[in-house]
Subunit: 144 residues, 2 copies
DNA sequence: ATAAATTCTACTTGACAGATAGGAATTAAG
DNA sequence: CTTAATTCCTATCTGTCAAGTAGAATTTAT
């Protein structure tokens, strides 16, 4: 029942882009350094974000990445679903429920449905813009 | 971000006990058969519940298990925390947060705190008695 | 005594998280 | 036009853990 580093790093990566983005692309090396995350590992994560159109890449020297959309257009839920896969607590709920022959008889499904709704309710209602705002509130003295 | 079979089976096991309990102990073999779960695997799970005082065991022939408390005294959260370990989505939140040197600077913690609150809000407010009730509502025609 | 049950401990298997590694392709700058 | 900086691609590694299997010891009702 844990969010993996992949998803968490993806959120921090995009937040870093949102905070440090001017108009020039940002090299992954710099993000890795600021966030204290292996650059090689971040490569794989940002590849996912790139393919999904979450970031735009500029290749070659002085290249890097920029956000493809406005911060308020990224939900945490979207980022996590992309990197973690679906976020249902069990595989028999959600929009692609795996079929289980006990489905009809099984009362516990209701638990997982309520749980999934609660989870979605949180992560689908926090955007990168919120994170930026939270950051600005709390950290004159800190960088992320 | 999945609940493992251990936790899910524990819930079904206790629900089975709540539904089929009269005053006589129920053999694990019967639960395993009804639930379609390996008896050997259930052994290990019920051992946890037994040690925690969730069930009472009667050894020997005609032995088995009975619930130690009333169904309304078991929360799903309690069962899951016991079998799954803590249910925080990341290790840096909850009552035993692992210390992270980025803790003060890290805005994403707020996401995970909100998420954990939402998760707890659901699972700590569903009891075995609720599951029994849901079961009785929906299944004249079905067994669990 | 026997059979039915719980209890205990060890082992197996496969999958996956969390990286690391190396080189190919692209491009700005000198 | 060469160099250095960067993204892109694919393969490999390592440890951990979920999910179960296995076998034998212990307890107890009949």
């Amino acid at each position: 029942m844990k969010i993996s580093t992949k998803g968490r790093y993806a959120v921090r990566l995009l937040l870093d882009l949102a905070l440090y983005n001017t108009k020039d692309p940002i090299a992954l090396k710099d993000i890795a350094k600021r966030q204290g995350i292996s650059e090689k590992y971040l490569e794989q994560i940002i590849a996912i974000l790139n393919k999904a159109g979450y970031v735009r890449s500029i290749r070659g020297a002085q290249g890097g990445y920029v956000l493809a959309k406005n911060p308020e257009d990224y939900t945490v839920g979207g980022i996590l679903r992309l990197t973690e896969g679906d976020l249902t607590p069990v595989s028999c709920v959600g929009q692609n429920p795996s079929d289980c022959e006990r489905r009809n008889q099984c009362v516990t499904v209701r638990i997982w449905e309520k749980l999934y709704d609660a989870i979605s309710g949180v992560i689908d209602n926090i955007t990168l813009a919120d994170l930026v705002e939270w950051h600005n509130e709390t950290s004159d003295q800190y960088v992320i």
